[in-house]
Symmetry: C2
Subunit: 708 residues, 2 copies
């Protein structure tokens, strides 16, 4: 019955102690709080943009060196040697990523978006936002992406951003002596949630250089609670990201960043002044949307199936995890190196806008094994970083560059590789694989349609990417803005909107959004906004279970210790015997953490009397601040003598005296609205007809889960 994953608590605990503390707060403290809020957002933006930039720089340079070396070997026709260097360097990079992930922080595996989404929904899974995860995520993501695996960096960037934000929200670290009084206001789940939301927005902003898209992504996909004020702060954070990135790219344009350096703020610019399309172009675009929806939901289905198989294997031990990663890496290397041999060489166009074949690293025309004056079109896509592949696919005025068969091979390869690469034990995003796959199938369709339509193949690739994103991730506004910011083509907007709508609608008929599916596989108790139909049939009285663990207003220390030791609950109703009537009355709700804080201070009473404000003397608000990163005090660590066990504690001043309550005849659906909208962890159920017990049960997140 007790789930290892605990919830976060966004309720304002109103007890006498906090009230007094709040009253003592002056103007200065409020100023400190506001100032710190903005400063932290600024710092989050700064660090995330640095992390994003560093990630980009490292990937482009590591992968770049790899490709330059192998290309040079290919030029001198040492093909086997090239293959060996290519696959071994990939293997080494993958192995490195897998080992640090498996041994240092398994929570850093995968995209991180489902985990952060669950955190923002109020699920506190251990280790998700720790400093270890942060480091592994940054380094591992660089290694994984450079190793030619078909994995993305956007998801890991979101996770990185959230980790950075969560670390700032810790209120310093006592262990490392990093404490600052001004940070103490952030020691609660509400403020941390806001920071993490800003961090995730900054992550997308840094990964795609899409500041507005980042905010919208955080709003649409990540956040479960949202306020206008938060929108503004997230906007501020991503604005900082945009400006710092803009400045850093300015620096790189002067050529100081090695192989990184081309391209401005827009990653895949496909601007053209006169995109013209008419009614005749609508049917193929609709078809693109429908196919994208079907493919996207199929992709989700397969991804989850593969993930489950991986999970079964992974359970056997760390060795197996790393083994899978290595297998996938070798498989990928073989495919990437082998497939281009299958397609025929193309002769260079005479009017090519750039060198053909390209000898350097990136460019549209890779020579691979072809004779001079020819290029291998599949190698141009495959033997490249993913970003360059996308750029090639999106490029305009290249309608005759690729063969139809090439496109088909590339699409199938990407589809398969991206499904098998996601589940390995290394940081791996989904955005870029989905964009590559979608772009290739879009371009394929564009080539099929040929001159019948008005759009160029590059624009079909953009629409294909949109449809596949829509079919797999099911966002609307945020994807729209992200694609806009990636490609800088506003005239295409109506078509992109249509494609997204169609593909999302079609895909929703089959299954859920890919992140939700992954979240379900991971077993996070995610709380939906809307009630399931069965919830309208049940009343809360039907769900509350078992005998209630209660405390009395003035309770014996021994009893408290007993309750804490024998149960794992985190909230306990406090009842008082009332002098007027025979039945006790509900005083409030006390949290486990507060009970433990009380026990730790050992300010016990010898007799069961009620203390006034006197009780506060021994405590500072820091004692009751919520600890971060899952390092909670345990009841087992507190040692009490038998004498102390016989003493008393007055719980009144520390009990939340105004918990939210519902009557037991309320339907579960209606209780869910309160629970979810207000962001509660515990909801007390009171009897409709006053009976002996003033409270009949307590609802937590688990009671709203369908499987319960």
């Amino acid at each position: 019955n007790v789930c290892p994953i605990e919830s976060l608590d966004y309720e304002i605990a109103e007890n006498d102690f906090f009230k007094q503390d709040w009253r003592a707060r002056g103007k200065v403290q409020i100023f400190q709080y506001i100032f710190m809020k903005w400063l932290l957002c600024f710092l989050i933006g700064g660090f995330v943009s640095l992390a994003g930039f560093f990630n980009n720089l490292a990937v482009e340079n590591i992968a770049g060196v790899k490709f330059v070396i192998t290309s040079n070997m290919m030029l001198s026709q040492r093909y086997w040697m090239a293959f060996l260097v290519f696959s071994l360097s990939n293997l080494a990079l993958t192995l490195f990523a897998a080992i640090i992930t498996a041994f240092i922080s398994p929570a850093a595996a995968g995209s991180g978006i489902p985990e952060v989404k669950a955190y923002l929904n109020g699920v506190d899974a251990p280790g998700i936002l720790s400093i270890r995860t942060l480091i592994v995520k940054i380094v591992g993501s660089i290694a994984a992406v450079s190793s030619s695996l078909l994995v993305g960096k956007a998801g890991p960037m979101v996770h990185t951003g959230s980790c950075i934000a969560a670390l700032f929200g810790q209120g310093g670290s006592r262990r490392y002596g990093l404490t600052w009084k001004w940070l103490r206001f952030f020691k609660n789940d509400r403020d941390r949630r806001d920071l993490v939301t800003c961090g995730s927005a900054a992550g997308i902003a840094a990964a795609f250089r899409a500041p507005v898209g980042g905010v919208l992504f955080a709003l649409e996909e990540m956040a479960s609670w949202w306020r206008s004020a938060l929108l503004w702060r997230a906007f501020f954070t991503t604005a900082v990201v945009a400006i710092i990135l803009r400045a850093l790219i300015d620096v790189c344009l002067s050529g100081k960043c090695g192989l990184f350096g081309k391209g401005g703020l827009i990653m895949f610019d496909v601007y053209s002044a006169n995109v013209s399309y008419h009614l005749a172009d609508v049917p193929p675009v609709l078809a693109l949307g429908v196919i994208g929806g079907i493919l996207g939901s199929f992709y989700n289905f397969l991804l989850v199936k593969v993930l489950k198989v991986y999970n079964l294997v992974n359970e056997k031990g760390t060795f197996y995890k790393i083994f899978i990663a290595c297998t996938i890496s070798i498989f990928t290397s073989c495919l990437l190196f082998g497939l281009p041999w299958l397609v025929s060489c193309q002769s260079c166009p005479s009017d090519a806008s750039e060198d053909c074949p390209t000898i350097g690293r990136s460019g549209n025309y890779k020579k691979f094994q072809c004779p001079p004056g020819h290029y291998n079109d599949l190698a141009s896509l495959i033997f490249n970083t993913n970003d360059d592949a996308i750029r090639n696919l999106f490029s305009k005025n290249t309608d005759s560059e690729f063969q139809l068969s090439t496109m088909l091979i590339f699409f199938v390869t990407c589809f398969i590789l991206s499904i098998f690469s996601y589940g390995i034990v290394a940081p791996a995003g989904l955005f870029v694989p989905v964009i590559v796959t979608g772009a290739s199938y879009g371009r394929f369709i564009g080539m099929l349609i040929g001159s019948w339509g008005n759009l160029s193949h590059g624009l079909y690739a953009v629409l294909g990417a949109a449809s596949f994103l829509g079919g797999s991730m099911r966002m609307t506004v945020s994807l729209c803005v992200i694609i806009l910011e990636l490609t800088n083509n506003l005239l295409l907007l109506p078509l992109i909107m249509v494609v997204l709508l169609v593909s999302k609608t079609v895909a929703d008929a089959f299954n859920g959004n890919v992140y939700d599916l992954i979240m379900k596989v991971k077993g996070f108790p995610y709380l939906e906004t809307h009630a399931e139909p069965y919830m309208r049939q049940l009343t809360v009285a039907d769900v509350v279970s078992g005998p209630l663990q209660l405390c009395h207003g003035i309770e014996k220390v021994g009893n408290i210790v007993h309750i804490l030791k024998t149960t794992m609950h985190h909230g306990f109703p406090v009842i008082d015997e009332s002098p007027h009537s025979e039945s006790p009355v509900l005083y409030g709700l006390i949290l486990r953490a507060h009970l433990i804080a009380l026990l730790k201070k050992k300010a016990f009473l010898c007799t069961p009397v009620q203390l006034g404000a006197d009780a506060f003397r021994h405590f500072s608000s820091d004692d009751f601040a919520k600890k971060g990163l899952g390092n909670v005090d345990k009841i087992e660590d507190i040692e009490l003598t038998d004498e102390e066990m016989e003493m008393f504690l007055d719980l009144h001043p520390f009990t939340n005296a105004s918990p939210y309550t519902v009557v037991d005849t309320m339907s579960l659906a209606k209780a869910l609205i309160l629970f979810r909208e207000v962001g509660l962890r515990h909801l007390l159920v009171i009897p409709k007809i006053s009976s002996r017990a003033p409270v009949v049960g307590i609802l937590t997140r688990h009671d709203f889960m369908p499987e319960h």
Copy 2:
């Protein structure tokens, strides 16, 4: 104590009758509901885009004809005649707009955004979303904008969109025989709210041809409650708008729309492939932001002051309202016609990209009174529609076109005119005036900076418009996206973000957002998300007032009629005598509308006995559906005999048996969270210590207002 403006109710009333009704709903009904939801969004999108297009077409043609005629007279040097035609046609148009507004629907005056925002917050002011308002708004807005007043059309479009959406949400009209069974599911405030949100998004989308910006505007500025599902529906609606507008513009490009026709989907295209700016450009941009913030808040301050003065005058009668409108129209005509005489003529540049001087309607070079080969730069801005003025200000490669003094005169004129034009009794938006004013001051600053910076004057105008919008309207993401969609310049994005952030921050230090200020002047009880500091000091027990009006579970008809007649409350707690204990228990809450529905059916009991499901026989769910557009049944209309007055009603099956409750020791701030997040109209307060009364009070929206 009783406020004439009533609230909307988003709570799910869970009574036995509704529960039974809900259980009876099959798969078919659920399908009908979902189908209708999307169909209505589609229809809303369609109608709003037609309205927007028609508005554009009419304005361009009416204003166009006016300008062509006066220009021709100016060419033949009949200056006085030109002035007469110009000012009289302006006066006639303004008079027309003012008269229909004043006599048919006074609620259509002004922008409409504050009203719709209040509606979406749960304030049901009479007549705001009626069909009369819709018609007056569409026609009046065309007349007002064509009459050269400095008023915009975006606000009226939002109001139009909301009216259209609200009308669809009526569930047909029995009076006109327009009923359709499938529409019956929308007869509640929750579904209507969703529709109106989509409608307001469609309004901005149609006004600025900015579909994504429209969604975000509705999200950031308009909506008080938001869900992911709603985001998707709003996106669908604006996508419909975008596609229909795109198709209509395609039609117009072939020249069938009279003087309307130029320009594609992007209204003020300022794209340039290489906007380059560096660190040196940041200080002027920051300065722009600061000045924009100061000017914006000053603008809001003055606007509200003028509005208050107008209100005082308007109270004297309709004649005074129309008098003000005429005065402003004449004043505007004089200024617009007179000011261009003050500036010196400029000689045409030899390398002008278009004809100079322009003889036709729009264009950068207006001849006005100048000799051939010369143009009047102030007339190019002033003697034009606002859209063309903005286009001129934003245009690139025209750095030497305007004189510094021209810009200053234009800025001051716009600033003053837009403040005085808003409050007149005609539909009048704020967006366009703010953009014009901001663009002129931005260009002025750009000219001051001159060649010191890297940005062209047109881009400074864009940034100036952004800063003034930010300073006056205080949105972030939505303004950013709207500006992006208006100007199609993604490279400028980081600068726009900075400018918006700075101007909003600066302006927030002085006063609130312009719509909130107007809302306050109008006296709408708008419920904020965040609690005021004083609310943390008060408990709910401190606020509940007066003797509570209660019903009993089985109540005499006479008593019910008495309560309904003597009070204006809309919710009454229902209590039951409990057999077990001496004190009564709370059964639930019954709504005034439901009581009246019960009385109307006259299905009374002779003896006070409790009925079972038998009671439902007389009723269908339609009897309890919420009527739209404020046509509620009144208690005065129900005539009951003395005999009937002595009979009884069993209220149990119609009472919401699980209302949300709070204990009386809860702070007002915490109660506000529940009230606001869940969207309640009535919140019951129960005593902490069980006493004689099972409920001590009832909280409504007014109890959370600071002035209370």
